[in-house]
Symmetry: C2
Subunit: 244 residues, 2 copies
């Protein structure tokens, strides 16, 4: 019924097709998936949009609209069959196949990522760990041997890896991404605090720890009556700005 993807003929040249699902919706699908998984584990069979929305932390209208982009998987008057919906979303995201992932940079963060259980349980398989430091080569992390960066291209090729996770220091991020892309990786998750450029067709997502804290700090500063947080210097500046 809603397969009217013919009228939406403005594919926005620079952006990949993305069938019909808005980007904002895609970003929320993993959220729904998690909420549904929790419901399955509790043995719940059906759920209304209201309940599911609450446990996913969103508005119920938004949830229904999001799901409507995937199809009509609910039953009016009843709700959604939990297990069925979970499977549909899982398939839409592409979690029914397993994705081989390489982690580059096995420092503190790389360690944490390699050991993070949330990946394996969601269809992501850490297939290779790579570090530039020869001293780390051979070390076992999360049951996997750390390989030297020299082998990066070889590993990507042999293990058919399409997704790379970058957890290197900032200055190494761009060269590493270049090599990943050259070797055939088309999706990169970057944890390094650096802005990296990738060619068109490669998806790049960024997780920046200190950026998140800074955004919090911005709002924090504006609570409790901001005046409380002003230093003498800042107060002087403020006064100057208001009067001048």
């Amino acid at each position: 019924m809603t397969r009217t993807s013919s009228s939406t003929e403005t594919p926005t040249p620079g952006v990949p097709p993305a069938r019909g699902v808005p980007e904002a919706t895609v970003a929320r699908l993993p959220l729904y998936l998690r909420a549904l998984t929790a419901l399955v584990e509790r043995g719940v069979a059906t759920v209304s949009s209201e309940e599911l929305a609450t446990s996913a932390g969103v508005n119920s209208a938004k949830l229904r609209k999001d799901l409507s982009y995937l199809g009509s998987y609910g039953t009016r008057g009843v709700g959604y069959e939990v297990d069925f919906l979970r499977h549909q979303i899982s398939r839409e995201i592409g979690l029914t196949q397993d994705w081989a992932v390489v982690i580059v940079g096995i420092g503190n963060l790389g360690h944490a990522l390699a050991n993070y259980g949330g990946f394996a349980s969601r269809g992501f398989r850490i297939a290779a760990l790579v570090d530039a430091d020869p001293k780390r080569t051979g070390e076992k992390v999360a049951g996997l041997e750390v390989r030297h960066t020299d082998e990066l291209e070889q590993l990507i090729n042999d293990l058919d890896i399409h997704i790379g996770v970058v957890a290197t220091p900032a200055r190494a991020a761009q060269p590493v991404c270049d090599r990943l892309v050259a070797a055939g990786v088309t999706s990169i998750l970057n944890f390094a605090p650096a802005i990296v450029q990738v060619p068109e067709g490669v998806d790049l997502r960024k997780v920046d720890l200190s950026t998140e804290l800074q955004i919090l700090a911005y709002h924090e500063q504006r609570k409790n009556g901001a005046a409380l947080a002003l230093t003498a210097e800042q107060a002087a500046e403020l006064a100057e700005a208001v009067n001048g």
Copy 2:
């Protein structure tokens, strides 16, 4: 000149004031700050919006509009004075004061966060590390002694902590957040893969590692001609759906 905050009288009840700077702009300020810091280190004195935008990975019009919310800190025909602008943004975000932060959950990720250099260099001071496991209590991490969760409220009070970082397992996230809030924390950065609810007035940001990967997987699945990625089962489902 642009201090016409009187006409914008629709403060959106549920949302905190947020003087006049759009949320999307706030989220980019740390980006600009980083780019400016890099310029300072290279000894660059002035920079045009075009250059700064490029090195921050955004559009120059967007950069100028963003900066215009903070004030008129540029010089037409010249550009922005790097050090001055950096200071202004820093002040706007609230990085001129130092923020005491507590990290709850010293597992792999907590370790990585405690050792992450990017916090200290940006006005965030890791003031306390807390873990529920008595075996970890007393352990030294990043030069700080890990304390037991029992001491959480005491530490928050004594050290005047307003920002909490949660790196616990999923099931512990909500109780921990509740305790943080009860003890006076008003900003929380949550790394646990769980949806947590906080009362109004408390800012909550979420960093979810597997969500990011799932978003990448979604797009990855749609590259290379999605048909390639279909399993027999999925193909059958698809055929069924199309034929009805």
